[in-house]
């Protein structure tokens, strides 16, 4: 079991040392995953809300599909995006493969169904309560969506944080579309996978500890800012 104390020591040491390589990797991880979550949320929040409030033929199917897409395996998402961005693929000319942009796209695809499904659930409950009133006011679909998202913002946060968790912890997709190229597309999780395959479990675990610490910091920040902003008027 000395691997665990070893790992804690490695983590402490890495943190104390603040090696530029580590900082680079951490910053890239954050940049990629936060961008992916923001992008996914911008699309998934309105879409999830729309599906929640608008009855249309086939909605049940869409809901099930949205839930099912939470099971998209990262490796498959990685492969599909790899093929699309590949030189011989339809978007090859963009030259995005093996860049952080490709990683953002991949994580965005993975995170989108999670935020959309959880948003749908949350907005659905709120909509049950607000529906008649909003219709009484003659609110249009977009006005309904913004009202529901705004009033549900504190609850929607957990779904967004779940999406962030999926993104920052994910390795299968980013390693395929990013290539884990040193100084270019290497992030926390791909480094952890690499150290594991090297058999350097202490380093892998140490990096894992740092990743969780970063997640704690991000969550604390989001909950503190989001919480204090919403407590006033709930």
């Amino acid at each position: 079991m000395d691997e665990f104390s070893n790992a804690s020591r490695t983590a402490l040491h890495l943190l104390a040392e603040m090696h530029p390589d580590l900082i680079e990797i951490v910053l890239l991880s954050l940049r990629v995953s936060l961008s992916a979550v923001v992008l996914a949320a911008l699309l998934a929040l309105p879409l999830g809300a729309f599906v929640a409030l608008k009855p249309f033929p086939g909605r049940r199917g869409i809901v099930i599909l949205m839930n099912a897409l939470m099971s998209l395996p990262p490796v498959v998402v990685g492969l599909v995006i790899y093929l699309l961005l590949s030189r011989t693929g339809p978007f090859g000319v963009t030259g995005l493969l093996f860049t952080p942009a490709a990683m953002i796209i991949a994580q965005c695809v993975l995170v989108f169904p999670i935020i959309a499904a959880l948003t749908r659930q949350t907005v659905f409950d709120l909509h049950e309560e607000y529906d008649e009133y909003l219709r009484s006011l003659g609110a249009g679909t977009w006005q309904k969506i913004t009202t529901l998202l705004w009033d549900g913002r504190a609850r929607l946060l957990t779904g967004i944080l779940a999406g962030f968790g999926r993104a920052i912890a994910e390795v299968g997709a980013v390693i395929i579309v990013g290539g884990n190229i040193v100084h270019s597309t290497r992030v926390m999780t791909t480094t952890i996978a690499l150290e594991t395959s090297k058999g350097d479990l202490g380093m892998a675990l140490g990096l894992g500890i740092i990743l969780v610490l970063i997640a704690v910091v991000v969550n604390t920040a989001v909950v503190t800012i989001g919480g204090s902003a919403s407590r006033r008027t709930l």
Partner: protein, 241 residues
């Protein structure tokens, strides 16, 4: 005063409303030609709230039709406001609740500020303008929903038990509102259990039971002695089955 009113007449013809095969409103037909206050009376579960929502275009009739002047119920809604039996308040402050409603009806920011202050003051809620609306007391919440509807300056006001949780003076205030509303030639339809209140305010009465319209009469005649025996027992406070 009888202003020309493009919302009237309200014509409800052969309207039924069913949920899962259960008839909640059954074959209701009536026409309202005049402005002023129409009161909906009837025992609990008679279908008063459902009928109000049908008239407001919130529920689609299973059969039959509803027209306000030349418009169908959903279109007419734009010039109406409804106060629900159970207050629906957004998770925002009292003032923001009114602001939101005004915004949705297209009022400019300048207009809104004035109207918000005025309507909160009217409802005696000036002190709690910035409180989360859902933390207000039962009566304050109900006052707020009425103030919010009033702020929209609608041509038709639909009120579902608006004074149920109000103290006597707030009740009087709402009754005054109803009177001055009616005086400008607008239309109010109100469901209430307060028979004394109906007696004080109503121009005409619709009496319902079990989803059916049993009597439609001018208030004076109805209060003097309804032709329907159930209605007679009802206003005497007896059990109606």
């Amino acid at each position: 005063m009888r202003l020309q009113h493009d919302m009237l007449p309200l014509v409800v013809s052969h309207v039924s409303y069913r949920v899962d095969g259960k008839a909640i409103i059954e074959e209701v037909s009536f026409a309202i030609n005049d402005p002023g206050l129409t009161v909906l009376l009837g025992p609990n579960g008679a279908g008063k709230s459902s009928l109000l929502k049908l008239c407001h275009g919130l529920l689609p009739p299973s059969s039959g039709s509803i027209r306000w002047g030349d418009a169908d119920a959903r279109t007419a809604r734009q010039k109406q406001a409804m106060v629900f039996q159970r207050p629906v308040l957004l998770r925002r402050s009292a003032a923001e609740n009114i602001d939101h409603a005004l915004k949705l009806r297209g009022a400019s920011a300048a207009e809104r500020a004035g109207v918000i202050e005025e309507s909160l003051a009217w409802a005696g809620l000036g002190d709690v303008a910035n409180m989360p609306a859902r933390k207000l007391s039962g009566g304050e919440q109900q006052s707020l929903t009425i103030a919010r509807a009033w702020a929209l300056n609608p041509e038709v006001l639909l009120l579902d038990e608006p004074t149920a949780n109000l103290d006597p003076s707030a009740t009087r205030r709402v009754e005054n509102l109803i009177r001055s509303f009616a005086a400008t030639g607008r239309k109010i339809i109100m469901a209430t259990h307060n028979i004394a209140q109906a007696r004080r305010l109503a121009d005409e009465v619709l009496f319902m039971n079990h989803g059916r319209l049993l009597e439609h009469a001018p208030a004076e005649r109805f209060m003097g002695g309804p032709s329907n025996p159930l209605a007679a027992r009802f206003i005497a406070g007896e059990l109606v089955e």
